[in-house]
Symmetry: D3
């Protein structure tokens, strides 16, 4: 049964992800566990009384469990309770249930976004960039992680598939610019657009909600991405010879990653110094801002009129223009033409 | 002869625009005029000795004159000199010489940009917006002023045709977004993109270089544009009835104009509160930033290597990525495959 | 009975304004309404069980109702409850009860502030300004709206009559400056002081507490005011001829409105560029800051000592200097004069 | 002869202030002095060849000298030259020439400002404040220094008498507020207004132009003023007994001095926390801003039209509204009333 | 019994500090007192029913009382209750219990910090500084207050002994700099380091938790310190002659105090202008930042892993690097040396 | 002859570094070269007339040449001139003249700074850090580059040896902190202090003055350093096994490099999140600020009194406290003890 279906006291069976897991000692000295569990429909507290250390160790954050428990009222709220001395759950394997049963998911299906990325990748002609892209985007395991990652932990695209959707948006805006503006190097811009956020694959984790990894907290996704490309370039140089990836080809690409936040105060250690870097920053910024509005619109309560509720990401309510317009009936004055 | 052709002392004949005009009194009590004149190739000082008040009154900034004078050295620099007691110039009529002979001109021809605007205008279906756009863009005199205006006095698109080129860029980016993102109202966004900068027609003047009018200095182009649309809407209401342009149709459009600078500190009295307003701001911002890079690239000295000189608009030099790449010849180590 | 008199369970009769009105569906599927009602003495929740759609539609935010209900305890708090199947209220007409019975009111009576404004208006001699002021301040309906409006929704003068009190304060400071400083144009400064905030009449609404209208949220009071004056000037030009209100008379006045917030980051699309505009900004700023201190002092709890509680508008507690001083009794040392 | 009268080579006699004095060694090893001298009409370089150490020691910055020298052309500019082996100057005593012959002077005569201060002082009734004010404003030597000081070194009131003029402006604005707003303590506010800038008497020096003293550079005028009042209060306590000046009377006054810059980033170590402190800051801020506009207007070149040149203190040109308006002649259309 | 030992209803006896004391009137008209009391182990509410005005007057914030009361449950929380008609407490004298029984205390014992200060003081050779330091640090009462004060009310060193610990840290960093860098005046730097925060002795109070005094709120510790030194210097001049403490010796020292916050926006009315002032600011800043990390580490819950919880002073969680490293066992590949 | 010895027209022989080299075409169509050459004593223009393309190609910026030319006056200034048709120079090899003959050099000799670094390195016990440090600091070529680099291009330590001097300063401050504060990991902090700025070896170049390399301009020294360590760690993992350098050992070190600028707006993509990172940032910041004061003091003109001239790096003049103090002679009043 889904979390949102648990509306009164009684037995509960269901499959949930563990979102939080804390070890507690009761006044009587017994160990108990204070968890939060959830699925895509919501989340709830779960208390497990008289739990053993061994059982507690199984209940790690991010795990998916098949649970049998009881809904009980505590402090006027329903919570789940289980007796730790009996077997009340089974840890599911990763294959058993898709992550997307337990986490919010992008409104844009992956099948719509991958072709945008793959077409861009196919258009890159410069061999060192082509092979570099293949190191990442030709690997199934990378594609899976990339498609599962959010584009941010909060604020915008904070859902499974967010990174893929965002990258497709950035690539699309870059392609529109390539068609309109002169002086742009298409290989450099498209490679940069595809790789600009790959560090998020290593700096975010999705087990038990979206969070930073230690690498994410200590280095940030921007430095993580720079290190991923640096390592891949070094491997290419070892395999293909030093001249295969000369500095004049490597440095502008690293600059695209380093500069894509646009300003130092937004986390870019260097600010864009060439046209493609400027453009990539703006495409990135624009797509993320648009996503905030889209999410405010998508998540508004049904009864909303012209304004969504206050939105924390944007720090204001969002207006929904309604231009429903009809030609007004002519009034006498107008038909006679006198004014 | 062009200004850049005046390289040594001697007689000079040519057609120039007056860029500055100052009345001076010499130590001997005589009146003289200190002018700067120029054409597209450059500018030079012009001193007119013993000038009368009447003659000085003719030499107003912004006028185009056919001049006969002499180049002389003063303080190691060449300047033009003329004797105010003889007739040395003729004021040309506005038709005689195109403005573009004396001012920098957009690198994008108007014939390329107008179709972008006109196609967008043709797609707007909502009648009040359609007619509002026609008030401006269906008038020959407006089109002429619009096509002559720069998009800024400094920093970006500061040349004849800049406003037209910039508006086409913004419309193009908005159109790309319309194709990619849901939730957008095309009529509202395109009308806003077309009108967002029309205040510049009233707040900039091009006579004798680009400058603010009094309206530009006292109100700014953003308020000027709001007032132009406000007045046109009022006229429409008087002509077509009050309900022809209801507030729910007018206010979001005015918001697009008011909010297109994005932030209060950038001159928007309100910040964007709906998706189209957010998008218009980003398209406007992106196009203006790209133009700064383009101009830095276009105006770089010929001998430039990978870096343009320091660019004041961007506050940095601009890099010119050169990805000229050739497959390196295989070295022995590589061919044998040992590493 | 006033809200503050409802201190225990039992029947309640009174006249209240509806401050919030939400439609809810109970677990049993029945409709109920969750309202907040209030008067000048305070506010309370009102739950109406088993309400019909028709009845709910009558209970709109901002309406004043004569109510019969019951006070009951819920979650340790008193709330009002009514049975929607019986007739428990009557909607009052606008004339029946003054707005000021339900909203906070300026501590300065209108009779003290209007003469300040009217005297300033009487002193303006320049005909176009005089007639412009009359368009607004000679109209009874405008005067009523102006006198009812607050000067802000939060922070300062957030009460009925606030706009009137604030405008009187600004006019008073401007008049003091006119008496002390040279170079000031009295007509321009007084007209600007009187009109600087008129946009608030259109951008604020007072029904059910103080809030922004859509125009307030989409354009802000500053642009609303600019548009009101622009429209009035256009009407004057149509009626009196174009030269009746030349740009040199109109533009500085619009500038006063546009620049009165002083800085772009405070919402002025242009910053003051002449003396009267600088002065008006400072008078406006000074009066609003003083009001914050006055309100912190006025609303302090009775038992306050030298410091009010922390004040959110000012982000600090306010000190109340107490200089009660008495000549200290002379000590021996002092009387002998040895030190 | 005044500096501005020295327009060609030849002998020069006049009385000038030394504005700069540098000791130099010529290529031949001889000592010479590179000075700048000036009067109210302008300033000029003065070179003294073959000067002795003793003579150079007399030519200190800030001294006024009666000079006999020769104007000669050097690098196309006129400069004064003198032979240090002959006696070419006499140092004037301080009484001989008023400072105001050599420095810019307030446009408001001291006779107009002193009564404003003295009337305010006379109204202060609280004895400790009254006596404190007398420590400063009843002393002839203090009044002389106060009346000679500028209110700032740059930006506003940077002339002899500026401090007096500025203090009178601040007192005037405070008095207007006292008449309009409730809750104000007149003794505290007027004492604070009179004393707020007294530190400038110790932190500025006027010899040879306006400059900071070491105390001004190391502590600033705000701390200097706090220390002056602290010392005077301590003296009062020693003379009149500790209770004569209790902390509840002293601390709010010191707070007025410490907080009058309004914000930490503007140099106030604490920000205003009571009404009088808020008001004093705004009066101070308003008067100084107005002065910048007045000075831009006063110092504009004669031929200025509606705009002064760019003004560095304000970072913009200043507009001069010209409302000269005449009732337009009625046109036919208007007289017939058809529109 | 300690506060943390009160875990169930029943009688309670203990010694506590009053942390808050509010006079309340019950619905029945009787006076009651709502207090908070605490010791080093925690704090709790205490309600005293039917209290007389006389008794309430004894229960002032900051007092230490020997209490007999009862723990009762209210709103699911334990609180203490007492009957004001019986004698239930005794006010302790200041000597009876050390402050440190009721307030958090520095982790660094005073015996470790005082020698750092006293050694530095002993090294100062310049007589006026030596005697000035003695005015403060040779006085037992000053030493007691100094050793009891926190270094801040929040953020860092907010505990008894914090000022002493912080001053020792600053002195230590300054001493390290004296050993490494040239151009430093040891007497000036050490005197400044010792005195830089003495104003906190007058601007903080510790009765009933750490708070600002009126002087702290109105002037701040920086101005308080400047005034303390100013007064001491004046006394020295009266006693030892004016030349004993010449301005060239006094002003740099006052500058060290005035500038030690480094930036105006951080409360320094002047920013450092010489080397010792720059250094003192950085030592002060560095020590206070380090203290925030130390406190986040010290106060982390036991079960913390690599990250402390979110820390409000730092606005982030703190990482605890764990470099426990062991030489990895050699794998076959490595031992054979092939890669 | 040194540049400063060239004081009059005549033949000149000397060894100079080329600081600028521009190719010019004269009006007669001939090629000439406009160079600047210099040594530690100063710099001068050098014009080479009628130069061939081949000769010009030899005169690259950064080269050291043995020159024979003539000093001539041009525009009242001396410049060097040479005839490009004759052989007038010889390019010196890198060994011939030390770089320090032509560039400013640290006032602290390398022999004083290296032991500070090497002692710190010797104390690092953790094997992966020890070996990592050896990759850099045990290589002669790295040590040479490190010892030649400046610590900044402007502002502070902008001279040969600056990086070495600065690193020694940072290490010294870190060591002082290690002795005083608990909770610090010495291996981590010292390794971070030694490596924090190594990116400057790759991002600065010293040929012909100090400048950024392309890598410096495109990535900045901070990212360059991260990449250098990343590459070295990867190499270590390939050589010693993946577990030799586990993430828990690598990531905190990279964080120290990434965070050492302290704030995002100062170029750190992540801000310090643990104690050692906080400390390293403050030591780095403190040392660089102290260096600015030292340089202002060191480079002051001889005749300076208490204040250096305005210093651009600090944006203020620097005060030089002079505490020369003598016990004042006792006055009669003092000796008699009456006050």
């Amino acid at each position: 049964m889904l979390v949102k279906e648990i509306t009164k006291e009684g037995p509960v069976k269901g499959v949930y992800m563990i979102l939080e897991s804390r070890r507690r000692v009761a006044k009587n000295g017994n160990l108990f566990a204070a968890l939060r569990v959830g699925d895509q429909s919501g989340e709830m507290p779960l208390k497990v009384w008289e739990i053993s250390e061994e059982t507690f160790a199984e209940l790690q954050k991010g795990r998916v469990i098949k649970l049998e428990a009881a809904a009980k009222t505590f402090n006027n709220m329903l919570q789940l309770e289980a007796d730790g001395r009996r077997r009340f759950f089974r840890v599911c394997t990763e294959d058993e249930y898709p992550l997307t049963d337990f986490l919010p998911v992008s409104p844009v299906p992956a099948e719509k976004s991958w072709p945008v990325l793959d077409r861009a990748r196919a258009e890159v002609e410069l061999l060192p960039y082509r092979e570099l892209l293949a190191v990442f985007f030709a690997q199934k395991s990378f594609r899976e992680k990339f498609a599962a990652a959010p584009a941010a932990l909060r604020h915008h695209h904070a859902y499974v598939g967010g990174l893929l959707e965002h990258t497709a948006g950035v690539v699309t805006l870059c392609r529109a610019a390539l068609a309109h503006y002169p002086y742009l190097n298409s290989d450099l811009l498209l490679t940069g657009a595809l790789l600009h956020d790959i560090g998020k694959v290593r700096s975010y984790q999705t087990g038990g909600g979206f969070e930073n990894t230690d690498e994410g907290k200590l280095l940030g996704h921007l430095v993580a991405g720079i290190r991923m490309v640096t390592e891949a370039v070094n491997t290419a140089r070892r395999n293909r010879g030093k001249d295969f990836f000369p500095p004049a080809v490597e440095l502008p690409l690293i600059h695209l990653l380093a500069g894509h936040h646009g300003l130092k105060e937004w986390g870019s250690p260097v600010e864009p110094v060439f046209l493609e870097a400027c453009l990539l920053h703006h495409a990135d910024y624009m797509d993320s801002q648009i996503a905030k509005y889209q999410e405010a619109i998508r998540s508004r309560p049904e009864e909303t009129g012209s304004w969504t509720p206050y939105n924390q990401n944007l720090n204001h309510a969002v207006y929904l223009p309604d231009l429903a317009w009809e030609m007004p009936a002519a009034t006498e004055e107008e038909t006679t033409g006198e004014s």
